[in-house]
């Protein structure tokens, strides 16, 4: 039988799913054991015991200096920024993306500019951003917005434009004004697509968040990672990276779940 037609059984699929993760863990353990043998104080690949110890300290012991549980206070700070950044980006994308997608005049005005802006490397403009927005939360949120919003706007305006012209004409024959077409025909149909774009932007959003927190912060996941990087505390960095990845995966799943719940018809559409 051709390989293309060979489907692993249920059990085999599960085993195959886990295989690369298992290999990764084994490789880590071996690497760690080798390095720790050479230097018992080695910090690059800490042992499982050290990792467990650190996780316990960060997540379940109050920090002696501030009394906070560091992992949770960092997570709270970062997630707040992330939500704010993504929320603002989404709102911007909805307004600007719909305007571009809907109105030829706005399209002529904004589309080339947005295409240009989406190519600007945001990290290089950080100094300006800090001076304009200050060093507080605003500039961190702004970095996420600058990094994420142009992509979302472009995606949204493209998917608004991709709606069959016939639907718009049809709505006009049903007495819709431009406003009503935007509100009742285009908006509801691009929302599911917006959620999908948002999922794809979760990774970049975390990236910008970490970059912003590395510049100036007093809490946050990125702050902690860059702070402890000063003394190569990989026993903190590894759990934090794993935690960020887990958060991103959970966010991804939640957004997809929300899309399927709130827009059941978008699933049907895909199933056809």
């Amino acid at each position: 039988m051709r390989w293309i037609n060979r489907r692993p059984s249920r059990g085999a699929t599960l085993v195959l799913h886990c295989l690369p993760f298992a290999l990764l863990i084994v490789a880590y353990l071996i690497g760690s054991a080798i390095r720790l043998e050479a230097n018992p104080n080695d910090k690059l690949l800490p042992s499982l015991a050290t990792l467990a110890d650190t996780v316990n300290r960060m997540a379940f012991q109050p920090d002696p200096r501030t009394g906070d549980y560091l992992l949770w206070s960092d997570t709270a700070a970062s997630l707040w920024r992330l939500f704010a950044g993504l929320g603002i980006s989404t709102a911007l994308a909805l307004v600007i993306g719909l305007l571009i997608g809907l109105l030829p005049v706005m399209r002529a005005t904004l589309a080339p500019f947005i295409a240009f802006v989406s190519m600007v490397p945001p990290l290089a403009l950080l100094p300006i951003l800090f001076i304009v927005m200050g060093l507080g939360e605003a500039s961190k949120i702004a970095l996420i917005v600058i990094g994420v919003a142009p992509i979302l706007i472009r995606d949204l305006s493209l998917s608004a434009q991709a709606l069959p012209r016939e639907q718009i004409v049809k709505a006009e024959t049903l007495s819709a004004s431009t406003w009503l077409i935007g509100l009742r025909v285009v908006l509801p149909q691009v929302l599911p697509r917006l959620l999908t774009s948002l999922r794809l932007q979760l990774g970049p959003a975390f990236l910008f968040l970490i970059a912003a927190e590395a510049i100036s912060a007093d809490s946050g996941l990125g702050y902690r990672i860059f702070l402890v990087r000063r003394y190569l505390s990989m026993d903190v960095i590894f759990p934090y990276v794993a935690w960020i990845t887990l958060l991103a995966v959970i966010g991804d799943r939640l957004i997809d779940l929300a899309r399927r719940r709130v827009f059941p018809w978008s699933e049907l559409e895909g199933a056809r």
Binding site: D42, K43, L44, P127, F130, G134, L135, F226, L227, Y231
Partner: protein, 330 residues
């Protein structure tokens, strides 16, 4: 075990620019050839990354401050020897206030600095000098390349940083330098450190490093056209020009003569300085999360005296190679 190929990391800072110049102008090659070895010199833009790479074993030697040498490689179990004491900061690190004339005005402010760096140490020493402690301010971690931009934002009112940022910031309207490292002379030391084991197995490597260094700083410190050209080149490499570079140099106590450096490390002040430093690091939990006291890591001084645990000596100040240079025995 003895080997022939060595890797040295350096990062962009006024006291370490000679390393780049030496690599560019062939001084490194000259000395390596002399000892029949090869030395690869790598420039880092990111200081912390260079120390991390050294700590992880990717490099045999690295440029680092006395404090970071103790908190990063030594606390990370890498037995490290200071081969060359290049300079100490005499004004390169500073506490700068906006709308404040004296250090006492810092009370209650947010202070932007690189946490756990020498700036943090400088702040602790500064606060100490006016009877305050870190409880009286709030520290906000801020990345060093962004200090100049950050200072211009309204919510930043106090900052601790180093050159070249200090010289840029003091030019800004409203900025006042209220404390600098010239007030704690000799406490912030810029070193070239190497892995003790590597050095023990390959003393030629240490000799080559010393040879390179003093060859280069001799040119650089000389008041000749070649000296000026060298300073201009170093200025350009660090992103400024000759004038800017000489400004920074003025705030640096460079040991251009090996004998001065030997004198500095063998003076009893070093022990006092390192005691301050390890106290600060222990306070911040940077000597290891389970460290019972500041004594966990032993610091060996020239002559063999040890500060702290003699069974766990991880940082050694050595005058061996500088002495050889002073004696012209390289």
């Amino acid at each position: 075990e003895p080997k022939k190929d060595f890797k040295v990391a350096w990062s962009i800072y006024v006291g370490w620019m000679p390393w780049g110049y030496a690599a560019d102008t062939g001084i490194v090659k000259k000395w390596a050839d002399k000892y029949g070895i090869t030395i690869e010199v790598t420039q880092f833009n990111d200081y912390v990354e260079s120390i991390n790479q050294y700590t992880a074993g990717a490099y045999d030697a690295v440029t680092v401050t006395n404090m970071d040498a103790l908190s990063i490689p030594s606390a990370g179990g890498v037995d490290t020897t200071a081969v060359i004491v290049g300079d100490f900061s005499a004004g390169n690190d500073a506490v700068i206030l906006k709308d404040g004339a004296t250090l006492a005005d810092i009370k209650g402010r947010n202070v932007n600095l690189v946490e756990f760096s020498v700036s943090h140490y400088l702040l602790a020493r500064a606060l100490d000098s006016v009877g305050m402690s870190e409880q009286d301010v709030k520290v906000v971690n801020t990345a060093d390349p962004d200090m100049v931009g950050a200072f211009q934002t309204p919510d930043v009112t106090a900052m601790v940083t180093w050159n070249p940022m200090v010289s840029e910031i003091v030019k800004l309207p409203g900025a006042t330098k209220v404390f600098d490292s010239s007030q704690i002379p000799g406490e912030i030391i810029d070193l070239m450190v190497a892995n003790t084991q590597v050095l023990a197995d390959n003393p030629d490597f240490g000799k080559a490093l010393a040879g390179i260094w003093y060859d280069t700083v001799t040119v650089m410190a000389s008041d000749t056209p070649e000296g000026a050209a060298a300073r201009a080149a170093m200025g350009a490499a660090s992103g400024t020009d000759q004038a800017g570079f000489e400004d920074q140099l003025a705030a640096t106590k460079l040991f251009a003569k090996p004998a001065d450096a030997v004198g500095f490390v063998t003076s009893p002040d070093l022990s006092k300085t390192m005691d301050h430093v390890r106290g600060f690091l222990f306070d911040k939990g940077l000597l290891g999360s389970g460290a019972p006291s500041a004594d966990v890591i032993g610091i060996e001084l020239p002559g063999g005296a040890v500060l702290g645990d003699t069974g766990n000596v991880k940082l050694r100040f050595s005058d061996t190679y500088m002495k050889l240079a002073a004696d012209g025995a390289l």
